[in-house]
Amino acid sequence: MIHLEDTNGGAVASAIASERHRMGSTTTGMVMTLLIVADEEHQADATAAAVASARQHPMRILTLVPRPGKGPSRLDADIAVGGDDGPGEVAVIRLRGLLSEHANSVVIPLLLSDTPVVAWWPGAAPPIPGEDPLGRHAQRRITDAGSAKEPLHELAVLQAGYCPGDTDLSWTRLTPWRTALAAALDQPFAPIQSGCVTAERNNPSGPLFVSWLAERLGVPITLKLGKGPDITDVRLTSAAGDIAISRPDGSTATLQRPQAPDSTIALPDRELKDLMSEELRRLDPDEAYARALAGASCEVPAPSSPSKKAPAS
């Protein structure tokens, strides 16, 4: 670990390069630069998760911690290269004073040449990530509506400010659910008439799930408030019966299908590093997310949960 005080972007870049040289390896295997923009509260967990996913995606991780204030501009950096934590490179860069508003100028010399850039805001994100000075470097921008104080409101902001290449971890968290449900529909089934998702209050994955199902199935899907944790139930109703996955305890789910025995599916909540590994697997715009976000209803549903028999279709 190298600690640089009162330094600049170029010096950080050459410190990383000389540390690489000293270890006898090169950066040619690196697949991307990941920019993490976080406050002190989120930066450690986010950096650790990124380092863990760097085992799957060797990359340069730049964690930028803006610390706005009246004091003089100043840049401090902690650098770690290779070693036991994985093949990647990590620089945690703290920007004080006025400099905290100019992270962009610090980052430019640190981006790996000719490889993709991904930006990640584990906490608060700019309203239009794609137009943020840092976000503009990135072809993929990752936010987490779930970390906001008002997640559904945050989802609405992201919906309004969407640019191709945006994605949100509340969508990533749905992948196991979507996979299990898609697998259930690989078998022939009676036409679906309606559906219902039960999610915890303020869970931003709920509206995305509903929107995705409505778009794919073309039938009314309702959102019901549940006790959680997170999403607890998804149910597709057909004349032959329900196809349903319910996960009351946040880890093991039961799959129910008409004319088939119930079966259990392991559907545990995934750690941040697993979510990031999935996010970084593909760097082109996620069009399925774009459609689900566009159709998501970000209003907080009324506490009196609508009955699933309600839609008269």
Partner: protein, 513 residues
Amino acid sequence: MADTPLVTTNPLRADDDRRIPRVAGPCSLVLFGVTGDLSRKKVMPAIYDLANRGYLPPGFALVGFARRDWEDQDFAQVVHDAVREYARTPFREDVWQQLAKGLRFVAGDLANENAYLDLKRVVDELDASRGTGGNHAFYLSIPPGFFPVVLQHLHTSGLATSAPGAWKRVVIEKPFGHDLKSAEELNHIVEEVFPPSSVFRIDHYLGKETVQNILAVRFANTMFEPLWNSNYVDNVQITQAEDIGIGGRASYYDGIGAARDVIQNHLLQLLALTAMEEPLSFESSAIRQEKEKVLSAVQLPRELDLHTVRGQYGPGLQGGVPVKGFLEETGISPKSTTETYAAIRVNVDNRRWASVPFYLRTGKRLGRRVTEVAIVFKRAPHLPFAQSSVQELSNNALVFRIQPDEGITLRFGSKVPSTSLVEVRDVNMDFQYGDTFVDTSPEAYERLILDVLLGDPPLFPRSREVELSWKILDPILTRWADQGAPESYVSGGWGPHSAYTMIARDGRTWRRP
């Protein structure tokens, strides 16, 4: 409502939704030969890893079949131990519990008709209790001598018959016969019971990422394919070397030998992927077509004695450890003439490869464990340097490292930094799979088993490919059959002396892998 037709296309799957993986539909895998090394070290862990990655259906079942006095829970213990020891993904109790519910065991002799009726009952019970829907894959991890009897019983017991909308598949491991005639017989026996599209021949090499990457590198880039012909390529060297001896495989290995064990399947498949023309698409039928074409174009040299070499490892030191010679191994006859090293030269008779020799070699107890395909390019036609400047420059080479250190090496000349003299020396540019895509690559068996369950055959050779490979090898094996003892070579080196003279005869040298 009973009249409403069922929906058979899945509306939740969209081409641009790449987060949702293809998951196998309801099915079971019936494993014959559960006590074998391969079952315990590869198949069972791969099944757990697939379950852990979420690729198996919720009601998946694994049925063991063996001549053991076991109950379901004894079998579950065997699988559990195998998973704990060999699985690549972390052990998770919830995943294991889910898998364990679908474990069944059928005790019986492979030749006993009644055991198959028991198996049929278990399979039917699974259809009811686990919803496997009549979809079952039979994995024959047993010596090929048992194939006829097992297949016959699968047939007569009705296990091999698929109901409409359901499938039955059979998985067999190499060796696919020991010569052309036996391979044809085997194919005949298997395909009498199962249609060709339901027969999955597992060659685990073909499941390796790096092997599949040969086609990706060749056909997804612009800069390699223009050089991929006899104008630029001097020769191709395909090597599979092991540092270990035959270990506990004496009974299998004696009488089989290196050529049948490795060249017939792995090396000729690597040759096919390296030399084939661009397929029309990456559909399995298109790739198979090109592979079959190029294998049909393979020609043996006329003087087999001059261009093939067989060897047998003698005692020696391997990395400083004293090791036995082949003839001293337990279970090997001291008079055995089985080869443990084989090298052959072949040509591919088409315009692209006219006059480019392909050297294939494999052996046990060699210098280190390595599998690679090396494309060795011609020297530059003119070198505008003083002779002394390029003394240390050899041929450019592109090497696919299949294992270990999977990746690609590109070797070319570069100037040695110095103020006065120009000196050009070989340098290597390296792409390490492990550095760029770590951990994500599934183990070959995982991939192959999933492909079996999905019914996706691109990585599995069909009977015609197998027969074409034997056609190539048969004349060599016949020539070798009456030549007595193979040349002995010292363990821990790179094979018999005659291997060096064989390639030197063509004015070339082996690459040290």
